[in-house]
Amino acid sequence: MSTLTAPAGVLDVALQSAETTQFRAQDWFAVLRQQGWHTFQSLPMPTRDDEKWRFSDARSLSLAGYAPAPEPTEALAAALIARSHFVARPAALVVHVDGHCVLRPALSPELTAQGVRFETLTDALRHHPALLQEHLLKHSAGLGGAKFLALHQAWLKAGYVLFVPKGVEIRQPFVSVNWTSTDGVAVFPHALIIAGENAVVSIQDYHLGATPDARALAISACDIHAGTGAKVSRLAVQGWGNRTQSFQVDNTCGGRDALITSVNAAVGSRRARLENTVRIDGPGADVRLYGISVATGEQEFDQRTLQIHTAGQAKSDLLFKNALLGKSRTIFSGLIKVAPDAQRTDAYQTNRNLLLSPDAEADSLPGLEIEANDVKCSHGATTGQVDENELFYLRARGIPLEVAQELLAQGFLEEVIAKVEDEEGAEALRGMLSAKFHQA
């Protein structure tokens, strides 16, 4: 840190403390924020030599020059709320702009009566402190992003909490949209999802940039707790503005017989890092992790995943697909860990990269650490171009090269889009991915 100028913005201790004092009423939460700050201060910035940052451009990481932004004007808020209706009839919708809630979620009386809770983090702090104290930020960032998660914790305020009690099944998706708008803004959106025994719930998280050229820092986190037999599906779209540095730390734990599906899509940011950890703690659990991205320009998408099997007789399956254009780069680093007693585990991991430009670079680090012997585990990684024969077939029918390439690339991506259960969500995703081909 420079000694000439005092750290400003999100690195300013006075600013952070001042915000923390707002939470004097929730003492434990203020302490949590303080702990986050101390952890952040004590951890070094990652370097290129750090194995968990292998292939990442760690040297260019910088947290200086970002600050919380003031509340948006009513006109801007209204305009962005209008752009947030990806799903016509969601179970509920919550919208944040620059870290300020501009649309509070309104639950139907039926869902409220069933005990479902969908509130902003600050509301939930007042209404359900015990629930939050039990579940909030209970996981550590084990994939290299501990310093960033600590900063998230230090500035934790924006976000939502979704609680679905035992046996409640909700088909309509819950939707959260986070926008950045102001130049130089830092946002720290949080999502906490707790699904009780046999509960069924689906969530869509959109992280978007309202002003494409605005600089921004986004450090988001999502914790999913899926109880016995719960079915949770989540679509997370990272579509921040193209001058954003974003870090996303997701943690999911699945209990016995839980079925968890997550789709992580990436289209935005200058550099985006996703750390997705799944812990499988109960037998019979089935976790499916999907990733999809279209990287253009000089974007760097850094995807780190960890599938931990602590309980036996469970299943996890991962598929990450990246299409690369321009001078973009994707890094996929995945690890399957099977604990010594997790016998009869089925775990798979596949990464497929499609290079659509000679200057793009795809790095793959698919890893396995297996300590039980009665398992079925495999991983596969491929990187290649569009198939020449398929291209020839399309061109022979008069389709121009660019269009043919795009069609084939979209076909390549469709496998993952198809995993999004909600048709409207899938369509929104399809649109955002397709737009990338045209701006490239």
Binding site: E51, A362, G367
Partner: protein, 475 residues
């Protein structure tokens, strides 16, 4: 086949107790570098070998690099911290031979030799009774033939002294001293190994083996090998042996450099079976020029910890690199092996097939690197790694790193982990095999397609060796 089966049935499990039959050293020697590492030790080694000043400088520079580099424990196992560099004897000069009589060799070792079918004449050498294997009688005819072809086959000291015009150009170029900590260590204290030159167009029919050479330090602690295959030539080199090698030295750190010039083919076969107290940290890399082929066939069965990732730098158009690797990790062992393929020219292809077997508490690790930079086109890589876990707490890890840019390049990587299926074992036991025999057969089946690639005599020994290792692993 029937004979082997009969032997199997008759003999009980041979457990090799590596603590028995250790070497004994006499205390006073004319050439003793002492214990520990310092610039004077390095000077001493250089002086004993009567080396030219540039080699001494090379060694001293390497020592500085070694001292400056940290242990690679940020990615590698922390077991490396158990190496005590200050307790190691870095140079055993001529005359400093191990003294042991054939009678002192433990019976189980003798039995192992017998079961592996090691020729009588080689057994004494392998058991450490004779420090050098007197191969004059057995292999002299082959040696004459090689000389007629113009093949140079000598040690590093002789190579750099007698043929500097050939070897100096490439020495330390494929693997510079600063490549990694252990390559630096080797560069500082190397002695023993093979320097080979195959002239243009010469195709050596018989595999070359280190123990053809007479009165040389064959299996050194810090051996240094450099093989140059000139344009259009072909050679196969075999290192090590299937029989367990009994060692007092706990650290082995070799450097092997291969240079395949235009259209040349080099095949390098290793069977590593060091005793279970040995740290085996080896750097192996080949350069393949236009249309050339470098092929590593690597089998690791012994040692406490092996870290070895043979690599090929595909420097010429159309070059081809291949690594075939088998690793077997038994109780207390960690086989950390893999392969590196650095594509540096268009139309290059590489292939990696690695199979590992973890028995008992053994741990096997695959680490791979495939690199295709952006200026290249039409490069292809195929990687397959399969792991077999035998017992409940056997462990396997896979850590490949693949980096691809450029046009029309494609890579595919696949890995799987499995155990021997209960159905297979049941089927074989139904037909009268014991569980152990069935397991052994299944494991041999798992590696069979790779074992086939080994030269005939090696593959037979390897099969028996795997059978040996599998005994007592089940039931």
């Amino acid at each position: 086949m029937a004979e082997i089966d009969e032997n199997l049935a008759q003999r009980e499990a041979i457990e090799v107790d590596r603590s028995k039959g250790d070497f004994k050293y006499e205390e006073s020697y004319a050439f003793d570098a002492g214990i520990g590492l310092s610039p004077s030790v390095v000077d001493y080694i250089s002086q004993v070998k009567a080396e030219e000043p540039w080699i001494r400088e090379f060694r001293q520079k390497a020592l500085k690099i070694f001292e400056g580099l940290p242990m690679p424990t940020h990615w590698a196992t922390t077991d490396l911290d158990n190496i005590k560099f200050e307790n190691i004897r870095y140079y055993l000069a001529k005359g400093q031979k191990a003294v042991r009589t054939w009678e002192e060799v433990p019976d189980d070792v003798k039995k192992t030799f017998e079961r592996l079918g090691i020729p009588e004449s080689e057994r004494k050498f392998l058991a450490g009774v004779e420090a050098q294997f007197d191969s004059e009688a057995v292999y002299s005819r082959m040696k004459e033939e090689l000389e007629k072809l113009g093949v140079i086959f000598c040690g590093p000291t002789e190579g750099l002294r007698d043929h500097p015009e050939i070897f100096r150009k490439w020495f330390g170029k494929v693997i510079p001293a600063g490549d990694n900590k252990f390559a630096a260590l080797n560069s500082a204290v190397f002695s023993g190994g093979s320097f080979i030159y195959i002239p243009k167009g010469v195709k050596v029919a018989q595999p070359l083996q280190a123990y053809f050479r007479i009165n040389a330090e064959n299996f050194g602690q810090f051996e240094r090998t450099l093989i140059i295959a000139d344009e259009g030539s072909e050679v196969t080199y075999m290192e090590g042996c299937t029989a367990p090698k009994f060692e007092t030295a706990t650290l082995h750190s070799a450097v092997v450099e291969l240079v395949a010039l235009k259209g040349a083919k080099i095949q390098y076969v290793t069977v590593q079976n060091w005793s279970a107290n040995v740290f085996n940290l080896v750097t192996k890399r080949g350069v393949a020029e236009e249309g050339a082929e470098v092929r590593w066939i690597d089998c690791n069965i012994g040692s406490r910890l092996t870290m070895k990732y043979p690599g090929v730098v595909l420097r010429g158009k159309g070059a081809r690199g291949e690594v075939l690797s088998i690793a077997l990790a038994n109780d207390g062992q960690h086989q950390d092996t893999g392969a590196k393929m650095i594509h540096a020219a268009d139309d290059t292809t590489s292939n990696i097939i690695a199979k590992s077997i973890s028995v008992g508490s053994g741990r096997s690790t695959y680490r791979g690197l495939v690199h295709i930079p952006k200026t290249l086109k039409n490069c292809r890589n195929n990687t397959e790694c399969d792991a077999l876990l035998i017992n409940e707490h056997s462990r396997t890890d896979t850590y490949p790193a693949i980096s691809v840019r450029g046009q029309k390049n494609s890579v595919q990587h696949e890995a799987s982990v499995s155990k021997v299926s209960a159905e297979q074992i049941f089927y074989m036991m139904q037909r009268g095999l014991s569980e152990g025999e069935a397991m052994s057969l299944a494991v041999n089946g798992f590696v069979n397609d790779l074992v086939k690639e080994f030269p005939m005599e090696y593959s037979v020994e390897l099969k028996r060796l795997i059978e040996l290792q599998m005994e007592g692993s089940v039931g």
